[in-house]
Structure formats: C-alpha cells, structure tokens
C-alpha cells in the first residue's frame, strides 16, 4: 500500500486497463481494503465505462465546429453583401446628363452619368473611376460620371455619403447637394443632405474642403474635425468642432444622433434593444446629445458611450422574465 497519491492513481488506472504486474495486484488488493479507496476505484471505473460508451469525439471537435460555424456566418454575411450589390446593380441607371447637373462646369463632350440609389435599410459602397471610395447610407442617391472630365470631378448626392477622395492635383473633386457644393482635393469627409431634412451638413475627417453655396460662392473653409451645417432656409452656414468618428461611423453600420434630446434617443434604444429606459432625473431628458449609436452592439456598450459623451451614468438591471431596465442618473 502506498501513500503516494500519484502512485495510487497509477495503480487504479492500470487495474482498469489490465496493466498491473502481480506485485502491483497485491498492492491493489491491499488498497481496496480501505473503503475510501474502494469507493474511489468504483467511481473511476464508472468514468471509464462511460468514456467507452461515448466513443471518441474527433480531437478538437468543439474547436472545429466553431471554426465551421464562424465560416458559415462569414459566408452568410458575404452573401448578404453580394445580394445588395446585385440589387444595387439593377438600379444603376446609365443616362446622359443635361447641363443642369454640372452648372459651373465648362461645356465638354457629353459625359455619361450613372445613378445609384440605395434602398432603405441597406448600405452600399462603391469605387469611382478615379479611385475615390464612396459609402452610401440608406435611401441615398449618388449620381456620378462613368469617367471624369479632364479637369473636374463632379458627383451629386441626395442623402448621406462618405467620401475618401483620391488625391489628384489640379483636378478638384466636387460634391453637389441640393443646397451646397463641397469642393475638395484629397480628403475624407461625410456629406449629409437628405431632401426631407431641413439642414444639410458636411463633416471633414481629414484634408481640406471648401463649401460653396448654390451660386458657387465660397461660404466656408473646413479644417479636419469640423462640421458645417446649412439650413435650407438660411444663407449662412454654421461651423462647429466635432468628433468626426461619430459622423462617419454609419459606414460601419452605426447610427448617429445630431443634437437630439436624450429622451428621444431613449425611445429608439428601447425599441432596438427591447429594454425599458427610465430617467432618475427629469432634467436629463432634455440633455441634447450628438454622437453615434452602434446599432449592432450590446446596449451596455452604447450606454457606456453615452456616459463618455454626456453627464450621465446608468444602471442596467437584468430582468429574467421581462424587459431589462436601464436607469439613467445624473453623474455626480
């Protein structure tokens, strides 16, 4: 009989697998006179029997299965993009644009324009012939030439678009909206100009842009990190400094709020995430918030983002039977 724990287990294992020498058999018999050892041996035997019954699971079965799952999800997402592209391709309509589309462009040979409209609830991304990348938000229409003129690059946006403009010296890139024109060199920026919205805006992420009114007069020059907002009813333009990441964030499937009161934001969050949101402090409801909501992220992450950007804190109570409850407090 041995006191060494390791050797005791070696004997038990060897007994189960018929690997005991006659000397060891004697030790085993001796061990089994102790009731605790006997009990342990019996239980271990059961484990062995159950192992035998279940049979081998291919090594790393769990890991392989997750790999397969992950690939499946990716394939699915890829298919989704393909579907959107297919759909987008159908509604790309090539047509010959009249002069009214490029009012300040010198008359040139006719330029063939294409138009793309992104359905609501979807997004699209495309690359123009000069290498410029454009992301189009839901319900946005982009009109662009198949090939750019020799000295100008013009596109028209109704809705919201994010541009990463390919740098080209002496060949400015201009985005027309209903209310303004944004002229750039090489830069990244976001244009927001849905016709039903009262204001349109341009947010500059990097580079330099000049904002002009419909008549072509320069009304603002933006530095990176600035947003220019123009109300349709007014001729002047308002410029503010912002965290641009939030304005361009929708290209990653995020949604931003521009100067929206917290109680309205809460209503949307309640809908998206199936939670109840209550305010511990009435005054907070009117706190206006500008920023981005990550629609595909857990609600806690969104609340944490709100905490960073406004004077609030929150408490999330998980409710197993109904909707979770989120309470918003004033941060002390």
């Amino acid at each position: 009989m041995t006191d060494n724990f390791d050797s005791k287990w070696e004997i038990i294992a060897a007994k189960i697998h018929g690997e005991l020498s006659s000397d060891e058999e004697a030790i085993f018999d001796q061990m089994m006179t102790d009731e605790a050892n006997l009990y342990g041996f019996e239980k271990t035997q059961i484990i062995h029997q159950n192992l035998e019954k279940t049979g081998p699971i291919a090594a790393n079965g769990k890991v392989k299965s997750w790999d397969r799952t992950e690939n499946g999800i990716r394939t699915y997402q890829f298919r989704w993009v393909k579907t959107v592209l297919k759909y987008a391709a159908i509604i790309v309509v090539a047509f010959i644009a009249g002069n009214q589309l490029r009012p300040s462009a010198p008359p040139e040979k006719e330029i063939r324009y294409s138009e793309i409209t992104v359905p609501f609830g979807q997004m699209s991304q495309l690359k123009l012939s000069d290498g410029t990348k454009v992301w189009l938000n839901s319900g946005t229409t982009l009109r662009y030439p198949e090939h750019f003129a020799s000295n100008q690059r013009y596109v028209t946006v109704i809705g919201e678009a994010y541009f990463e403009v390919a740098k080209m010296a002496n060949k400015p890139f201009t985005v027309n909206t209903a209310d303004m024109k944004v002229e750039v060199l090489g830069t990244s920026f976001n244009v927001l100009a849905y016709t039903e919205d009262v204001a349109s805006s341009v947010t500059l992420v990097e580079g330099k842009v000049v904002v002009r009114n419909k008549e072509g007069e320069a009304i603002a020059k933006l530095n990176p990190g600035q947003i220019a907002t123009k109300k349709q009813t007014e001729s002047n333009i308002e410029i503010r400094n912002v965290k641009t990441a939030f304005y361009a964030a929708w290209i990653d499937g995020k949604i931003y709020f521009d100067d929206e009161p917290l109680d309205q934001i809460a209503v949307k969050l309640e809908r998206w995430f199936n939670v109840d949101i209550v305010f511990a402090n009435e005054q907070l409801k009117s706190y206006r918030f500008t920023g981005t909501i990550l629609k595909n992220k857990p609600v806690d992450q969104i609340m944490q983002a709100l905490e960073l950007l406004s004077p609030i804190s929150f408490k999330h109570q998980v409710n197993a039977t109904g909707r979770d409850k989120i309470t918003i407090y004033r941060r002390s």
Partner: protein, 188 residues
C-alpha cells in the same frame, strides 16, 4: 457566466462572441444527441455547426418561447432529417419516433456526458491522447509508449493523472448520476 437569455439578446444584437459562448456550452450535448438519433458519424459536425449558423442567420426572426437550448435541439433534429433526406438510404429513426426535443431524462444524460467531454477536453494534449488510445483504441501501455515514442512509465503516470483529474473534475454527485443512467443510455 452569462445566462442563455443574456447570450441570446447579445446574439440578436450581433455579438458573435455570445454565439461562441453558446456554441461551446452546448456543442457536446448537441453532438451526442445527433449521434444518438443519427447513428452515423459522417456529417454530424456539419449538422451541429449548422444549428448555430441558422440561429445566427435568423436571429432577428426567431422568437424563443421555451429555451434557447430546446430551440437548438429542434433545429438540430430538423437539420438531421434534411441530411437524411439528402443522403437516401441512411437509416434514421422513424420521424415520429424522434421527439421534437429530447425529454428531460435524455437531456440530463446528454448534459452529464457533455460534462465528461468537457473534462476530457481540459486534459493536457499528451495526457488526453494517451487516455484516448487506451480507452477508445484499446491500446496496451506498451503499444501507446511505442506509438508516441515515450516510456511505458510515462504512460503509466499519465494514465493515473488522467483518471485522477476526471475523478476530481466530475463531482461525486454527477458520478452517481452517471452511474444511475448508464444502463438506460447507450450511444453505440
């Protein structure tokens, strides 16, 4: 540890990590259930992974009324019927003979076997390999030593440690349950 309901909410919000937690939690139970009703090794891995792909793909449409676990079993069962249909000639239990989801008793069995596998998975790579050769391939210690190019003494030590670990990992209560159910449940 997040409960299933929290995981499901996060999955619906597009959190793939939550899907992985759920996958790792139920992989063995689903796999063993598939093995029990399908009687063929081939395609089982795909069938289990497909459950989670389907869950993810339709996360915005699915309404969970019982539990996410029951729902996974339903998807799996339906997936296995499809698999069977595609590969004519493979014998599957009569459609009516397979309950929509395993009954509580079977689920408990699956749960316990899953725990056994989970414990097995935690063994160091070499120790697990040695144990698998001994248990599943009925190799003698000498054969294992030769196969893995190690000494018989190492095999002996590792086998002892493997059983010790499994014994300690599965609490006494669960071993009793395994003992109670072993006569009712055979996977082969």
């Amino acid at each position: 540890m997040d409960d299933d309901l929290t995981l499901w909410k996060n999955i619906q919000n597009g959190d793939t990590r939550a899907l992985k937690v759920l996958h790792d939690r139920y992989y063995y139970q689903l796999y063993l259930y598939a093995k029990k009703i399908y009687h063929k090794q081939n395609g089982l891995d795909e069938a289990v992974a497909d459950c989670f792909i389907k869950l993810w793909t339709n996360r915005n449409e699915i309404v969970i009324d019982r539990s996410i676990k029951s729902y996974l079993f339903v998807i799996l069962r339906n997936g296995l019927f499809d698999l069977n249909r595609k590969r004519n000639g493979i014998i599957l239990l009569e459609v009516n003979a397979v309950p929509e989801i395993p009954d509580t008793e079977t689920q408990n069995e699956l749960d316990h076997y899953a725990r056994l596998y989970d414990a097995l998975e935690k063994l160091p790579e070499q120790r697990r390999r040695i144990l698998e050769l001994a248990v599943f391939e009925s190799c003698s210690y000498a054969q294992i030593a030769e196969k893995l190019d190690i000494s018989v003494n190492t095999v002996k030590t590792q086998m002892g440690r493997a059983y010790r670990f499994l014994r300690e990992e599965l609490d006494p209560r669960s071993i009793n349950l395994l003992f109670m159910i072993q006569s009712k449940f055979s996977l082969n």
